[in-house]
């Protein structure tokens, strides 16, 4: 059953092909895929590995929420999103987003929109393990204020 869920948080390595298969339909003429992978160097600083944590039930719910936003903005697209949690090594895949659409433009645009929204509203956290310590990303220096205590509502791409 888990294989069929279009919005999934998993501790297992992600099969990109499995995510793609969830959006393949006879109506679609385009499928775009985005893979987020673990980068070794960030501004010259070396990452040893990453650890992702999630509020799993709510995270899957927010992924479905993003799908709703996408359907409103690009009617006719189908999306599937899998995000991995746990410990990931350099080059491993953290997230796969697949979008199918009758025509390519919507598939490209919707896919980019989804990753931006994941970074805004989906309760998943990344902990960087450096050579000399650890950092919870998104939290250092308190650069991201949420004065209202809640994230902004959808559609920042206009």
């Amino acid at each position: 059953m888990t294989e069929k869920k279009r919005f999934l948080i998993t501790e297992e390595p992600i099969s990109t092909e499995d995510v793609i298969q969830k959006v393949i339909r006879r109506e679609c003429g385009a499928v775009t895929t985005f893979m987020g992978t673990v980068r070794e160097f960030t501004q010259g600083k070396q990452t040893i590995r990453l650890e992702y944590h999630a509020y799993k039930s709510m995270a899957e719910k927010m992924l479905a929420e993003i799908d709703k936003e996408v359907s409103n903005k690009w009617p006719g697209v189908t999306t599937a999103i899998t995000h991995r949690v746990g410990t990931l090594e350099i080059t491993e895949t953290a997230v796969v987003i697949a979008v199918s659409s009758p025509h390519r433009k919507a598939a490209y645009e919707a896919n980019e929109y989804i990753i931006e929204r994941i970074k805004q509203i989906v309760p998943i956290w990344k902990k960087e393990y450096w050579e000399d310590g650890t950092t919870w990303v998104g939290d250092q220096l308190e650069k991201v204020p949420y004065p209202e205590g809640a994230p902004q509502k959808g559609a920042h791409h206009g």
Binding site: H53, I118, E142
Partner: protein
Amino acid sequence: MVKVLLFARLQEEAGTDSLTVPQSDMSVAELKQWLEKEYGLTSLSNTMTAINENYTDDSALLSEGDTVALIPPVSGG
């Protein structure tokens, strides 16, 4: 009674992933103040809040049995 879920940095600060608050007669803002005092949690003004898995704001009032998640700035992807 209200259940509070903690994640990421907050989980490490508190040394636990969940807390139980005996009373529910308060707002999210009041709960945050109480947690800062009782558990020494910091930067809660910078933290999003969800009640029963729905994002809400600091003025929201809690109800008996609610599950409140304190959500530091997210960093998925």
